[in-house]
């Protein structure tokens, strides 16, 4: 059985909000009986953009990520829904019935991802429906994918086994896997949102020039865990380190000269100038 999944590449997301706007365009003012009642004009973020800024000038970065209904295989919302208001379709898509769900605010509260919104006027829970109403009419992809300028969003309709294989090969992750909800939205390069980097600038103590090609070793608990080289601006960066407080040592060598640097970091850090 082939089922829908969505793969989001955090590295390619540029915060353009096209997916957010397209979802509003699709649902504000439009009623799709059996799928979704109209979205309120303002306030709902069925697709929501998140910004993750790291570091500081001159070494800062910013990464972005959309979240939406995860179309979980073990949906928390379905467990609390009454009279079958939440249905899991054979193709993997979760639909909150706009009629049956009336008054069931517990559906909103049950979502561990905060992806379900309460429509005050209609008194119903609402969320992103993977454009099931369009796919059922022969569309080949949801609108969030169609409008994405960088192909950061890709929908795939494949078997669960194929998806599991792809997730493993491409190091895809889901959000909050520990909850056992089994989301169908997968993320690539999610480390850009939940890891830290350590960076710095290697300079020549005599000439004050940037040093290109210095070797830098990153050591944690006495073990070398990574190695890199400085670029023409003397800059180096170790990325993907766990987002938790830890002590690191750095050994920097170039042209027979060397230096050591120690730091304790709990978030991304630019260590400043390291002089050789």
């Amino acid at each position: 059985m082939k089922k829908w999944n969505l793969i989001v590449d955090v590295e390619k997301c540029e915060n353009c909000y096209n997916c957010f706007i397209a979802t509003k365009d699709e649902h504000v003012g439009n009623d799709f009986p059996g799928y979704a009642a109209p979205q309120p004009e303002h306030g709902h973020e069925w697709v929501k953009l998140h910004t993750f800024e790291r570091g500081e000038m001159p070494m800062a970065d910013a990464n972005f990520m959309p979240t939406m209904c995860n179309h979980c295989d073990e949906p928390a919302c379905m467990k609390v829904a009454e009279n079958g208001a939440v249905q899991k379709r054979a193709d993997g898509i979760v639909i909150i019935d706009p009629v049956k769900a009336k008054g069931q605010k517990q559906i909103v509260d049950a979502c561990p991802y905060g992806a379900i919104y309460w429509n005050d006027d209609l008194e119903i829970p609402q969320t992103w429906i993977f454009d099931a109403h369009l796919l059922d009419k022969g569309w080949t992809k949801p609108r969030v994918e169609q409008v994405c300028p960088t192909f950061a969003i890709e929908s795939v309709k494949i078997s669960d086994e194929e998806m599991a294989g792809r997730a493993q090969r491409e190091e895809l992750r889901v959000l909050k896997p520990e909850l056992g909800t089994k989301p169908r939205i997968y993320y690539k390069n999610l480390h850009l949102t939940d890891s830290l980097f350590i960076g710095g600038t290697v300079i020549d103590g005599k000439t004050d020039d940037c040093i290109d090609g210095a070797e830098i070793k990153l050591i944690k608990g006495g073990q070398e865990i990574a190695q890199t080289h400085s670029d023409c601006f003397g800059e180096f960066k170790f990325d993907g380190l766990p987002l938790q407080e830890a002590d690191y040592q750095l050994e920097i060598t170039h042209g027979g000269r060397s230096a050591k640097h120690e730091c304790r970091v709990s978030s991304s850090a630019f260590l400043g100038l390291i002089s050789l």
């Binding site: 706007i21 509003k24 004009e41 303002h42 306030g43 000038m57 001159p58 990464n63 409008v147």
Partner: protein, 985 residues
């Protein structure tokens, strides 16, 4: 008797159309009239009687027809009555009195429309998608779109994915890989938000009159912006406006009607401001509010003197860069360049995929910008954050390193440039005692000398593209500051030192230079559309021979510089300099308001979107609108936003989704020649009328036609055509019929222009100049007289070479623009110490990312919900200001706090977005708020709408130019609470 048959056939066509189309039958009932068609000598005639919607006709001459249409002879009549029109013949017939039309405008225009509709009503438009849904197409500033319509309402607006029937896409082979763009048109967020713009809650749906404006009594100009509005009929609105036009022309003479409009409009070639608007105003005469080249500034007033390109307003050639970058480029330096925010201009995200190719190939990226901008965030790379406005010093230090370390192209400099020795002496400090060392620049710019040296060395060693401005070879916030001309001059001087045109060395950021068919012709909007205006559009260069029109001309010679419009109205005088793309020297010629023999402006006609959110020091604009020297202010606008609140009469216009038009995506034309170079595929779009105009709104064309009818100019304006006929006239005049039939085009809605054959691709920009050949770039510039040597030989400079010390600037006396481009610190920046002590922060107001200028902003659209654009606080959507962690901390500002940013010119409340992407000491925000909402007296109180340009300086970059420098603005900020609004009252 063929003519009699033709006349009879025309009547039958009317009858058949009435039988088939109830809408047409309705139009028939609008008037009862007898219409006579005949030869001038009465030898042949047929008259048609329209009564109660019924048509009868009879051969012969009626004794007293309401409308009489006559032709000089039979041949002329047959040609003009043929369904296939030869417009050159038709124009000739009209101008030389070979035909004529007599009767009241209401009737003549109506009859012409009936004849036109009897043909066009049969044209089937859009695709039937089943379920009662029709898919139409349209075009926007942010990309072409499909529009799904059901029951007369827009259901959804989506981008266009190509089908197999669309032509093949180009491929570039480089470094062992093949690159081919996706087969689709990308879109910007404001394009996808279009439905929410159409149905916005502040649409102007009915003509309105300010309650205390009485054209026959008290006008109360002082209450503009304060008193409310009452609904009036179109008849009343049109009568008031045209009576006033006639009155001021009679009472005051030429110049009394002033026309002001924004730099852009909703997309189209018929409904655009350079088209229908100019056609109408040329016919009544107006004082032109002359636009400074707002996006080009430093390039126009500065760079062009070194390298020509006046017809592109100083920015460079645009072909071949994509292939060259993929094959050769090793490093790309983005300098004040954020194409992921600005989309180049109109280019949606077409360049994005190409930039990602460069990343895939390992091209190094450097981003010079006080803000870690959106392009930097996507591509990553080295961040260099100078203090705003100090960029020329940074550039000079880079040149100094090249000079002292032999890292420049000496052969190119020797063979292709002039004045280098004097420039080198300046860099070395020989002429002023100050060597322009990295250390000198560090003190000025705040960028470490070692970073400057490292960048200069890498640049000198690697094949480097300079991405200057969002377009890659032009524009950029750094050209819109006090030092903007210095900066743009430095950009071209740096490229001259590096030998522009050699493989891998050029201007660009992948935004321009896709391998298109550059010879396929379709007019850009600035070719003037249906205006017939030759002097102030690109028509003379690019269009008049393809789409013949009766030329129109504004006989009023009075001009007001846009930046000084408030001075002209409030103080009664102003001086400006021309934006003249025909040559480098046109810009040196000053003009004065009022012009000799002309009336001051008595009526200000404001056309299009909000401008008060885009012009510098705009409290002055609010004050201007309340001036009693303006006897009437008209706003022809779609939304009640910006300065519409100052109008006496509001004429409600509709959006491009409610009218018909035709256009090429991202094609500006005029001095935006070949803007389509930014796309992956050239696309010509039918802009279907997807839905009926909301409320009583009308298309701009229709409003001008109605006004024309009241001025006795109805047939002169319409030439007997409807909007769809103008669309067909443009279609027929272009190369599009070579690709698709009119019938298929109307149905499908778009056509993709096939890419150029690989062997015929346009050459790499400046390769001809680098190699010392005649120019072989497909552009009709410069004008032949602008070459000093042989035609096509050299650049558009006096010497034909790149001039480090421009000859054109040697001949003028502008103290702020010396021929030697020495560094002159900003007139509002780190050197203005007294001001800096009171206002220690620098304001950057960049082009907005999520709205296209004011289009899409405010209006209750879905863009309001974008957290990076506006933030909802206590029921109001506040404009965003990005501030550094450090500056927030020292002022106790927390995330999302409301802050008041202010200086002597005014104060604006924004919502703080605290960000590590901002250099401490600056506040980064966007210009172009569509909302102006003063808490007290307009023009003299705090604005909570977000029009941050209230704070910007309207001073010209240099005294001898009309160039804005809004990014040279010092401010302070503090936490704001609504109680402060009351205190400010």
């Amino acid at each position: 008797m063929r003519l009699e048959t033709t006349l009879f056939g025309a009547v039958q066509a009317l009858r058949l159309t009435a039988l088939r189309f109830p809408e047409f039958k309705k139009r028939l009932r609008e008037h009862d009239a007898v219409v006579q068609l005949k030869l001038a000598d009465n030898s042949v005639g047929r008259y048609i009687e329209f009564r109660d919607g019924k048509i009868s006709s009879r051969s012969g001459i009626h004794p007293a027809p309401d409308v009489s249409i006559f032709f000089k002879n039979k041949n002329i009549a047959l040609k003009l009555l043929s369904p296939k029109q030869d417009f050159l013949f038709r124009i000739d017939a009209m101008k030389n009195f070979k035909m004529g039309m007599l009767g009241p405008d209401d009737l003549t225009v109506w009859v012409n429309e009936l004849v036109s509709l009897a043909q066009s009503m049969w044209w089937k438009q859009g695709e039937d998608m089943g379920d009662g849904v029709t898919r139409y197409t349209n075009n926007t500033n942010g990309g072409p779109v499909n529009v799904f319509v059901k029951d007369g309402k827009i259901l959804r607006i989506t981008p266009i994915d190509f089908s197999d029937s669309d032509p093949a896409t180009w491929t570039v082979k480089a470094r062992g890989k093949e690159f081919s763009p996706p087969r689709r048109a990308s879109v910007a967020p404001y394009a996808i938000a279009s439905k929410s713009m159409v149905y916005a809650d502040n649409r102007n749906l009915y003509p309105m009159k300010r309650v205390d404006f009485d054209p026959n009594g008290e006008r109360n100009p002082q209450n503009r912006g304060k008193s409310g509005y009452e609904r009036i009929s179109w008849e009343e609105a049109l009568t008031i406006v045209t009576n006033e036009f006639k009155r001021v022309k009679k009472d005051h003479g030429p110049g009394a009607i002033g026309l002001s409009h924004g730099s852009h409009h909703l997309w189209g070639n018929v409904g655009y401001y350079l088209s229908a608007m100019l056609r109408f105003f040329n016919n009544i005469g107006f004082t032109r509010v002359h636009h400074n080249p707002d996006s080009w500034e430093g390039w126009y007033w500065g760079a062009q003197h070194h390298w020509g390109h006046s017809m592109r307003l100083g920015i460079g050639e645009v072909t071949g860069q994509v292939e060259d970058i993929l094959k050769e480029c090793e490093m790309m330096v983005f300098w004040s360049s954020d194409p992921e925010a600005t989309n180049g201009c109109y280019g949606a995200y077409e360049g994005t995929i190409r930039r990602l190719w460069a990343k895939e190939l390992g091209v190094k990226f450097v981003h010079i910008d006080p803000h870690w901008n959106h392009t930097a965030a996507l591509l990553k790379g080295k961040w260099i954050a100078p203090r705003p406005g100090t960029d020329p010093a940074l550039a000079q230090a880079i040149c100094y390193v090249w000079l002292t370390e032999d890292l420049y192209d000496k052969k190119f400099v020797a063979d292709r440039t002039t004045g280098f020795d004097e420039w080198a002496d300046y860099l070395a400090g020989k002429s002023d005692g100050v060597p322009k060392t990295p250390e000198w620049a560090e003190a000025e710019t705040g960028v470490a000398a070692r970073d400057i040296r490292a960048l200069a060395r890498e640049w000198g060693k690697r094949k480097t593209y300079l991405a200057a401005g969002g377009y890659g070879n032009g524009f950029g916030g750094a050209c819109r500051t006090a030092t903007g001309a210095q900066w743009a001059r430095m950009m071209v001087m740096m490229m001259a030192m590096q030998g522009i045109g050699k493989p891998g060395v050029n201007f660009g950021n992948m935004q321009t230079g896709a391998p298109h068919d550059y010879s396929f012709w379709f007019p850009g909007y600035a070719e003037g559309g249906i205006s017939g205006e030759l002097a102030f559009t690109g028509a003379a260069v690019n269009a008049y021979q393809r789409i013949p029109l009766i030329l129109s001309m504004n006989p009023v010679k009075q001009v007001v510089p846009r930046l000084q419009l408030p001075d002209a109205i409030i103080d009664g005088k102003a001086q400006g300099f021309f934006t003249d793309p025909t040559c480098k020297e046109g810009q040196f010629i000053p003009f004065f308001y009022p012009a000799p023999g002309h009336s001051p402006i008595k009526i200000l006609y404001k056309y299009g979107g909000a401008q008060i959110g885009t012009m510098p020091n705009s409290n002055r604009w609010a004050q201007m609108y309340q001036s009693d020297s303006l006897e009437m202010v008209v706003s022809q606008s779609i939304w009640f936003e910006g300065e519409a609140q100052f109008a006496d009469i509001i004429l409600p216009a509709c959006t491009n989704f409610e009218r018909t038009d035709i256009s090429e995506w991202c094609s500006a034309g005029g001095y935006g020649h070949q803007f389509f170079t930014q796309l992956n595929h050239r696309m010509i779009m039918m802009q279907h009328k997807c839905i009926e105009p909301l409320g009583e709104s009308k298309s701009d064309y229709q409003i001008f036609l109605e006004l024309s009818k009241k001025m006795g100019l109805g047939p002169v304006f319409s030439e007997g055509m409807c909007e769809i006929d103008w669309v067909k006239r443009i279609f027929d005049g272009s190369d599009v019929p070579d690709l698709i039939s009119w019938k298929e085009f109307l149905k499908k809605g778009y056509v993709v222009v096939p890419p150029e054959k690989e062997e015929l691709r346009a050459p790499r920009a400046y390769a001809w100049f680098y190699e010392g050949r005649k120019k072989d770039i497909p552009e009709p510039h410069p004008l032949p007289a602008d070459y000093s040597g042989e035609w096509l030989e050299g650049l558009g400079t006096q010497s034909g070479k790149f001039e480090f010390i421009p000859n054109s600037l040697k001949k003028i006396d502008d103290p702020d623009r010396p021929a030697l481009n020495r560094y002159i610190p900003s007139w509002e920046g780190t050197h203005t110490e007294e001001l800096l002590s009171r206002y220690p922060l620098q304001l950057m107001s960049a082009h907005s990312r999520y709205s296209f200028h004011s289009m899409g902003d405010g209006k209750g659209t879905s863009l309001n919900d974008i957290d990076d654009h506006r933030l909802l606080v206590d029921g109001h959507y506040y404009w965003r200001a990005r501030i550094s962690v450090e500056d927030a901390r020292s002022r106790d500002i927390k995330p999302n706090d409301l802050i008041r940013i202010y200086n002597d010119r005014g104060s604006v409340v924004c919502a703080a977005l605290i960000s590590s992407r901002v250099r401490p000491g600056i506040v980064h925000t966007y210009e172009s708020s569509a909302v102006y909402k003063p808490v007290g007296k307009p023009g003299a109180s705090t604005d909570i709408g977000g029009s941050v340009n209230i704070l910007t300086n309207s001073r010209s970059q240099s005294r001898g130019s009309s160039s804005m420098g809004p990014n040279a603005t010092l401010i302070e900020m503090e936490k704001w609470n609504p109680a402060m609004a009351e205190a400010a009252e």
